[in-house]
Amino acid sequence: MSVAALVDPQSLPTPAGHFGRYGGVFVPETLMTALSDVGAAYAAARQDPAFRDELTHHLKEFAGRPTELYFAERLTRHCGGAKIYLKREDLLHTGAHKINNALGQALLARRMGKRRIIAETGAGQHGVATAAVCAKFGLECVVYMGAVDMERQALNVFRMRLMGAEVRGVEAGQKTLKDAVNEAMRDWVTNVRGTHYILGSALGAHPYPMMVRDFHRVIGAETRRQILEREGRLPDEMIACVGGGSNAIGFFFDFLSDTQVRLIGIEAGGHGIRRGEHAARFEGGRLGVLQGSKTYILQNPDGQIELTHSVSAGLDYAAIGPEHAYYREQGRIEYAYACDDEVLETFQLVSRFEGILPALESTHALVHGLKRARELKPDQIVVINLSGRGDKDVNQVARLLNVKL
C-alpha cells in the first residue's frame, strides 16, 4: 500500500464537492439553490471567529467536551497485547458523537434565519441530538425515522418527543434509515425556503459530507492532543465504526497525514456477507449514486438499492460516505467488518471488564479493536472511538440474549 502521494486532506472536497471520483451533488433541481446557500453560509461561518467561539462554547457547556481518552486497563490485560484506549464520545450529552454536528448545524441554521429543522435518524442518536439542540435554541424540529427503527429504538423516540420534536414514522421501503433520508429530502424539497435539513452523517450531497466531517474533527483533534500527553507519541492503530461514517472521519481526519498511524473503519457484517444480510458496502457494494452522492452502494445488478441488515440501526444503511470511498481507494484508510454475533459477545465483554455499555454501533469498532490489540505488542497502542453509549440498546440486547426484562 502506497500513500506517499496523498493529497492534502484539507484541500478536499473540491469546490464542486468531489473527493476524487466520489461525492458531488446529485439532487433534484429544487434543492440545488438550497444546497449552495448552505454551502455559502457554512463557508462564511467557518471563517468567522464569532461562530467558532460560539460553537466551542456550546460544545463545552452543553455537550460536555472535551471527552476523555480512557485507558481500558482490564481489557488491555485481557487481550494481552497492545494498550487499548477508548475515546469517550459516549460521555457526551445525548449519548453519542452526533451532538457535535447537530450543534454546529443548528447554529448555522440560526445564522441563516431558518426556524424549522428536519432530520433523519436511524438508531435515534442523531434524532435525539437534533431534538436537544432544537429545544435549546427554540427551533421547530421534525425527525423522520423508519417504522422498523422506531420499534427497535422506542426509548429514543420517546426522548425526542419529550424534548418537543415531532417524530414522523416512515412506512416506505424497508422502513429504516435510508427510507427516513428519502422522506426528509422530500420534506426539504417541499419546505425548502424556511427549513434547514440537519443531515446526520458524512453523507448526501455537497456540502454535507464536508460540513459534517468538519464538525466532528474535534474528536480526532482532542485524541491527538490527549495521546501525545499520555504516551508522548501517536497511536499505532485507530479504529472506528462506519455507517455513513461521521464518527470515523472526524476521528481519523487529523491523522490522515500521519501515515505511520494505521486507520481502520469497521462496517456492519450483519448475519454475514450475503445479499440483504449485511451493510458492508466495501464487501458487496459497487460504485453508484444514492441520496445525493456518488459512492459505494449495496445494489442489485440493475442498480436497485439492496436491503441491508445490521443489529445496529445506526450502521444499517446501503451507502458509505464518499470521503471514505476516496481514502480507501487511496489506500489510506482500511476497512473491515464485524458481524452481529461478535458484536453481541463484545458488548457483554466490554460491559463486564470496563463497566461501560457501548452502543452497538461502536461495538463493531471494539470487536475489531480487541482483535488487533491481541495481535500487537504491549508497547503498541490502539485507540478505538467509542462513538456512543449503549443504554439505548439494552432492550434490544436483552431480546437477542433471550432475557426477559
Binding site: E29, T30, A172, N182, R186, V189, T190, G288, K294, D302
Partner: protein
Amino acid sequence: MDRLDSAFARARSENRAALVAYLCAGDPDFDTSLAACRTLVASGVDILEIGVPFSDPLADGLTNQLAAQRALEAGMTAEKVFELVRRLRADHPTLPIVFYTYYNLVFSNGSEAYVKAATAAGVDAMLTLDLPPEEAADLSAIAARHGLRTVFIVAPTTPDERLPRICSAATGFIYYVSREGVTGVRDAVASNIPEAVARIRRATNLPIVVGFGISRREHVRAVAAHADGVVVGSALVNCIRENLGRPDAIVQRLAAVASDLAAGLTRA
C-alpha cells in the same frame, strides 16, 4: 425533424399544448402497463413519459412511490422496461418516448451501455431527476453520441443565474416543476406559471413543459395557455392505484381521464 420535435410542432400547428403523460413502467404488471400506455396514446397523449421504477424515488410523492414499488414487486427489471418500450415502439413508430428516471439506474452498469440499450429500444429522450447539469457532462456526451435527447428541470427555486447552464445542458425540452415539493395531485395549479414560463423562454428556444400537481382539465387549460406541453402523472397513476386487480377498469378509467385532460389543451 425527429419524433419529439414533430410532436411539439404538430401541437403548435393545432394551436394547443402537447399532452405529456406519465406512467410507471410495469405498474401494476407488465401486460397491464403495456395496455395502459397504448390506451393513453389512443386517448390524445402526444408524448409518453415512462417512469423507470426505482427503489428510492426521492423526488416522488406517495402515488409514484407506490407505483414503483408495485412494478418492482411484479418483477420489473431494466430489461423488461426496454422490452416495454420495444413493444410500444413497434406499434407507434412516431410516438415520442421519454424516460423519467434516477441516475443510479443509468450509471450503475455504465451509462454508455444503458443509453445504447435505451435508444436501441426506441427511447427518444431522458429526464434524470437527481442529475443536475453540474454533474451531467458525462451523460450528456454519451447521449449526444447516441442521439438521445436530454431533459432538465427548472424549479421555482432556480435563480435566473442558473437558467443558462440548465438550458444549455438540455437538448430535448425544459421541464418546469410548477411547485416546490414532490410529484402528486394538488387542488390547484401554482399561480405564477405564466411568469415562470416567460422567464425560461428568455433563456432558451427549447419547448417548455410544465408538470407537478396537474390533475384536472381546468389545470391543463390554465397551463396550456403558456407552456408548450402539460405533464400529467399522478392523476393517471391513481387510475391504476384505484383499480388494482381489474385491468379492464384501469384501461377504461385511463381512457376517460386522458381524453378529458386532452380536451383542455386547446388555447382560446
